[in-house]
Subunit: 312 residues, 2 copies
């Protein structure tokens, strides 16, 4: 079953109406309740055997990840989280001790990020663990940042470093909420998403929604040290471009805002300029030997290969 | 694993903070964005083998039910729905034809109820079908109706008739959105919930949240004709009290509002007075031979027995 086709079909069938102003296709939906009240809403469902392995991962980290992937989507909208709704199907066989540790990880992290757990649906069953969280938030700078909005000449930037997350970082990553709060207050972020499918694939999503192209400088891409922890079946650069679950922010800003932002950026998480937005719609990788097409290298999930996300 | 204990533990751990004003424990959470902007949010996760059987039910009806249970929660808040977020884990083995029919049932019903599908997360996997929907709404009468709010002397009323839903009605029921829109505009509904666990069990939820008791008139309880379709292992009255998944509204109104409402109620779905709220906290069933305690007869789910709901 081709998930992306199914999602595209669903998206075509679903119109939007007030209070919804942005529906399927961004990191979160946008609801405009009044001129002054804007809400962003995202949802992610994580499944045993696809997004985590219950035999190999501490239950607390599973609970934490279920919230963290949603926090990353809220950050990608230039927003801060407010309230979460947590639905779970807990395997009866794992028992109450597992459930307690799962929720401890989730609730502790929610408290640390000032997220109110406002509701949910707690079930037990004989099937595998499934957790679906819907997270609400509000734009830090008043208006949300969308995937659409990149303009020719924009600098293409990324937070942190990419690749190798499956060595463990996909369970412990820090959503870039603090970084985004500072970012949107300092410059106009024209377009943004978080990297879940992989830098190359997610860049294609941003370009498609914005109706533009890009040239990416291969030498500029920040490669995470974690790539060394994984088998050398891909080069470090390939990993940075395609591993996925980095949960870094990929965004564009006006070229005139670029130098000032990068020179004065003091946050521990670096921001790196990795390319430029072009009016022609191709996506190119600039290497020492020339330009080659940068394909939306499909992120093949290491555990299952069947993961997709309707909000992406 | 005792779900209700787990849910109670989670609820104790979760405080509320603005914009959330009502959190875990009602049919939906309430968010007060501004004095004039109130939002209600509910979520329900339905699982194969627990809430439906994929081998015996048309996929369209499964998709419909996943939305309908959430619509019923929104109705129970005295609200109307606005936007839904749909997360699914689709079994690969059921293939694209199943997915198309599932979504057709869900999206057609959403369109019919003017619900915008604003986002979601569409996954495939080797596990069973799971669908989690988060539904947003806004109070019809400006303020939401809570479970807490029943006062001694209130009439206890129910829409429609109860019992026997597992003969098929649990898949085809109509959430009482139209009825509630008329109800809240005609009287002050002091407390309300929808009957999912069963009339007796849900009445206990309402009484507990309101800090009151009730006397229920056994002869007044409207028993659905569907009870005749199920095995006579329970009496019709027992089925009406405990079968669950009726998705009727159980609510209280001031006694002085009662006669006028019932005499002038012209909607096809009847409203029946089935009892009275008392200041003493007991819950009693008045029969021809006297009063007996009305226990929160646990709704044992016919398919699995393991279903619970954190939002209830």
């Amino acid at each position: 079953m081709a998930e992306f086709e199914l999602i595209a079909d669903i998206r075509r069938r679903c119109g939007i109406a007030p209070p919804v102003t942005i529906g399927i296709g961004d990191d979160a939906a946008v609801l405009q309740h009044t001129a002054a009240t804007t809400e962003v809403v995202t949802t992610d469902m994580l499944m045993e055997g696809v997004d985590f392995l219950v035999d190999e991962v501490a239950p607390e980290l599973i609970g934490r990840k279920c919230l963290a992937v949603n926090l990353s989507d809220i950050a990608a909208m230039g927003a801060k989280p407010t309230a979460a709704f947590v639905s779970v199907a807990l395997p009866i066989a794992l028992g109450r001790p597992f459930a307690d540790r799962f929720f401890a990880g989730l609730l502790d992290y929610a408290a640390a990020e000032s997220v109110t757990i406002a509701g949910g649906d707690t079930n037990t069953w004989r099937g595998p663990l499934v957790c679906s969280i819907t997270l609400l938030g509000e734009p830090v700078g008043g208006r949300p940042v969308l995937r659409a909005g990149a303009q020719p000449g924009d600098w293409l930037c990324v937070t942190g470093a990419c690749g190798g997350s499956l060595a463990g970082r996909h369970l412990t990553f820090t959503p870039r909420l603090q970084e985004v709060a500072e970012l949107v207050q300092r410059v106009t972020v024209r377009s943004m998403l978080d990297i879940s499918d992989g830098l190359a694939a997610d860049l294609h999503h941003l370009l498609k929604e914005s109706g533009v192209g890009a040239i990416v400088d291969a030498a500029a891409i920040p490669i995470h040290a974690d790539v060394a922890l994984l088998p050398p079946i891909k080069t470090p650069l390939q990993r940075a471009l395609s591993d996925g679950e980095d949960f870094e922010l990929l965004f564009t800003i006006a070229a005139e805002d670029g130098p000032g932002l990068l020179q004065s950026w003091r946050h521990a998480t670096p921001i790196t300029r990795i390319g430029v937005i072009t009016s022609s719609k191709g996506c190119w990788l600039q290497t020492a030997t020339g330009q080659e097409p940068l394909l939306p290298l499909g992120w093949t999930h290491a555990l299952d290969g069947s993961h997709g996300d309707g909000a992406r």
